[in-house]
Symmetry: C2
Subunit: 347 residues, 2 copies
């Protein structure tokens, strides 16, 4: 089969690899229909996260079950399914608590020895715990498929951020970061009842999507000027709930300083310097909490799925570029150069 | 009247100062019966927090109302009252939400121009919002008075830490720090229903109090060894709820690394290097939250008071040394040299 591999920084290839196959009785093989490229894939692309030459990549996909191991009972051949960005067994203590990202048998797509999502098919470990069935008729609905694909990562991650920040009815939510996750956090905050949503971002194309997703205000400034702008919008107080969806020192510093006393920061930006942006004295004086991390999106899919299916929320606008599998290297280039917000792959 | 003043690091004096008096119609004057010295007072004593020469000090006291301004309706002359470690108006948005430490008219005892608790009397701004009445008969009960005095700071701060950490029925709670606040956090965690409480500390006198307060396990190790010991006690998982009641880099680092995936750190140690102990990558990977800060103890007093009055909890053992007002400088010396855990002042 064909799949994306990474050989060195900026050296993405689509090449022939061994066919995905059931190896354990709890495995399933999923033939991929849609996959996508994540902002976090760019850390590997840019060489800031190490990969072995030839390692597979991609952690967001949906497709059709092609084969199942003997112990798989939750899905069967022909089912349309979506996979979260980590697999999990669904039965350990952490999974039962909903923290599927801490699953005792969990793992990441594209780890050495495992298929990645940016390929024709994927061997899915712990298929019963991992995969979530989708209505079969969705397979024929291009628009719906792209919306459903966000359940694999960015929508659930945005939801995790909004929850961590404490988005709730009546709250003012500020979102630092105008990438796909930040935009999905806007959508999630709106869904959770936030009254006012301030999106921080300077790219009009993206902040326009933020407004479609429910942002009531846009702040294009950065750094101290952004803090001042948010404070001005909130009568000097700051936002009850702040999403940090970037992971840099500056984004975290901004997030801390635009939070209202007693508020919280929901952080889902993979830390790349953000620890040094944590002003603990400020957080102490103002009782600002920090909650978040790698999002247990498997847990959130059943809650978010009905709203995607009935159109209550439509996260599909985060995809602004589509490539086929052979076009994946171009897709990386476009995201790296920020000419694409998020690239969808039709397989 | 006589009151404690700080003239320079290690130069505490008890001297004649102008009598406390009502200046604003919302003021009251409280004649102090009991006060105490806080671990955080030592930052000023050691010169790590700056004070103006002659500035007053002390933020924990209880006593009898001597005089009230024209607009004070909640307390009257002769009432036995306890004061939280900050004053607050009780009516602003933050006070109504329970975050009295962010009160728009709040402030700290011993600020320039204000009385401190370590003196014969205190002018209390916003007396209605600040003071909490105690049963008059408690004035004759030395033991109960010392227990009630902890409501001014350490008991409420320990409670804030336990809440921030997420102490709850069935939870395993670990407490980093064996000072008075750490010990009160043990007591608070027990009161909140924690099943297992691991106290980290190496001073037997203090960990013995921790055991009296409800600690089920004591870990005397520090640093990596402490992390290992707590992990061993918890089947490798760590504690659901971790209290950080020190504020140093090492204590925060320990707190982060003994937390269970999905758990939280309740931090109430005034940050003195603790920001650099925050391992954000670890917190991200394991979804560990950080919540806390300066404790809104005014909000907690009504909840904690009945349990202190009826003996359900008895925090008085945190006081191991008593001095009179003239003995305050000796009290500072004893706490600085750790020959005293916490010094009570009978005025």
């Amino acid at each position: 089969m064909r799949a994306t591999t990474i050989h060195a920084p900026f050296d993405m290839r689509v090449e022939d690899v061994p066919d995905a196959a059931v190896r354990h009785p709890t495995d399933a093989v999923v033939r991929v229909l849609r996959a996508c490229i994540c902002g976090s894939d760019l850390w590997a692309y840019r060489g800031e996260a190490r990969r072995q030459p030839g390692q597979r990549i991609g952690h967001e996909f949906l497709g059709v079950v092609e084969e199942t191991g003997a112990e798989v009972t939750g899905v069967r051949r022909g089912d349309l399914v979506v996979a979260p960005f980590m697999w999990s067994d669904g039965v350990c203590a952490y999974c039962r608590e909903g923290l599927t990202t801490s699953c005792e048998h969990g793992g990441f797509w594209g780890s050495v020895g495992y298929d990645g999502g940016q390929g024709e098919a994927v061997r899915v470990p712990h298929a019963d715990g991992t995969l979530v069935r989708l209505p079969k008729e969705a397979a024929g609905d291009d628009h719906l498929l792209s919306a459903l694909l966000t359940l694999s990562d960015v929508l659930g991650t945005g939801h995790h951020a909004a929850l961590g920040a404490g988005a709730r009815p009546g709250a003012t939510v500020a979102v630092v970061g105008d990438g796909a996750v930040g935009l999905c956090a806007v959508l999630a905050a709106k869904r959770l009842g936030a009254e006012r949503i301030i999106a921080l971002g300077r790219h009009a194309v993206r902040t326009d999507i933020a407004r479609r997703f429910g942002a009531t205000d846009v702040v294009a400034e950065r750094g101290d000027a952004a803090v001042e702008a948010v404070r001005e919008l909130t009568g000097g107080q700051g936002a009850h709930a702040v999403v940090e969806a970037v992971g840099t020192e500056q984004s975290m510093r901004t997030a801390v300083h635009i939070a209202r006393d007693g508020g919280a920061i929901g952080f889902v930006g993979v830390p790349h310097g953000s620890a040094t942006g944590i002003d603990l004295d400020f957080m102490f004086d103002h009782n600002i909490a920090l909650r978040g991390g790698v999002a247990p999106v498997r847990t959130y899919i059943p809650e978010l799925l009905p709203d995607v299916l009935d159109g209550t929320i439509d996260p599909s606008p985060v995809f602004d570029t589509t490539v086929d599998l052979e076009g994946v290297p171009e897709g990386y280039k476009a995201m790296d150069q920020r000419t694409a917000l998020k690239v969808m792959i039709t397989v």
